[in-house]
Subunit: 216 residues, 2 copies
DNA sequence: ACGGAAGCGGAGCGGGCTCTCCGCTTGGTG
DNA sequence: CACCAAGCGGAGAGCCCGCTCCGCTTCCGT
């Protein structure tokens, strides 16, 4: 992991860079992404200018912080994909991913927000086939109803995430119950079939990235 | 419905009040609650001062706008509660309520946000027993699994609402598919039982009102 | 018709956020 | 050690927001 690209940073600069990253990681994880550069600077004990110099756009900072977490999610998926039992593969993947989001509020907002953009798109491209495979194997075994698609699974974190987020200070585990409930909806045996169509990949991407959230 | 309480408004004042309400209704419904008083004033063709004079806190404006919509939701529940088939009662209630939210972004944010506070609490007190009754009748008929409670039903709009919101410009009906999927999770026949406990009423209230949303 | 109460508009204040700019400091090199 | 590019800090510009305040206008009772 030697840095080299555009000539190395001076030693003090690198030290400050790390301070900023450390402080930002803590702040984001605890309070979410709505943290100003000023706050990060203060927490890191450096000037605002320094933060802006290293990470001109907030996205640069987020990228540096979350790149490996996203990689970790992808690997979660790949591990799950290798499981013999596809149903367990699906559920454990979703559970593990949501667990990560439960522990890190920033990661949660990042994954579900628009800033993930390119990073998320690339991750999705690697996760989708794995989940798709799990899903079709699960259908063959009669573990999952026939009328759900990958796009439906992709919405599960959105559903459960909403509860995860709101219940965070109150019942930090409630999302597990909700996840179980939702996953039971994927089981075969429903009398009707699902109305409408699953989202196509383009729509799915928009649902994740076009989104400009603002609450109240 | 005669106004009288604190002496009537002058005629021009009343006219302005209506203009503000009309403009605010449109803005909120289209773009959500994150509209400044300035914007409302401009859209209504009045000065900011006028908006503040009539509706000092944003909550006052919201209350005036959404009071009867909330009442409508309560009546939806009561109608549904009178249905012979409790399962259909439950699903049609949720569907109708979410339909209202799909049509009015402001209502959606209001119901799921913290500003509803007192209004929502009162509404919940009227809706809960009705849903509780539907639920127990449905359980007796074997239409619903035994391990779900009213609090679990109460989370359904949160789940589905997350999709409703994000998919709004892209696939405005996707929430119906998601709702159907989630509701199938309430059906009996799951092999395991749900982990954890349903939220108690106090927790539920916090989940709805303590919530300070901020996205990215 | 006219006087005073009620209402009006919008300039302006305080505060937060993003981001820039520049005089001073520091690290590394010859 | 001496020099200067690299880096630093933070004041402050520009923007939007919520909210207030007060000189002018409009309504309405007498």
């Amino acid at each position: 992991m030697d840095d080299q690209g555009p000539t190395r940073l001076r030693r003090d600069a690198e030290r400050n860079r790390q301070r900023v990253l450390t402080a930002a990681r803590r702040l984001f994880s605890e309070t979410g992404l709505a943290v100003s550069h000023d706050e990060v600077a203060r927490a890191a004990g450096v000037g605002v200018g320094t933060v802006y110099r290293r990470f001109p756009r907030k996205e640069d900072l987020l990228l540096a912080l979350f790149e490996d977490q996203v990689e970790q999610v992808v690997q979660l998926a790949e591990t799950a994909g290798a499981r013999a039992d596809p149903w367990r593969g699906l559920t454990t993947f979703l559970e593990a991913m949501l667990q990560m989001q439960a522990e890190d509020r920033g990661l949660h907002e990042y994954l579900l927000g628009p800033q993930a953009a390119s990073l998320a798109v690339r991750a999705t491209e690697r996760i989708s086939p794995v989940v798709g495979d799990l899903l079709s194997r699960a259908k063959e075994l009669g573990q999952v109803r026939a009328d759900v698609e990958v796009a439906d699974v992709a919405l599960v974190p959105v559903l459960v995430g909403a509860v995860l987020d709101r219940a965070r200070g109150v019942a930090p585990d409630q999302w597990r119950r909700v996840l179980a409930l939702v996953m039971d909806g994927f089981r075969p045996g429903a009398d009707g079939s699902l109305p409408g169509q699953p989202l196509d990949p383009g729509q799915l991407e928009q649902v994740f990235t076009h989104w400009k959230g603002r609450p109240a």
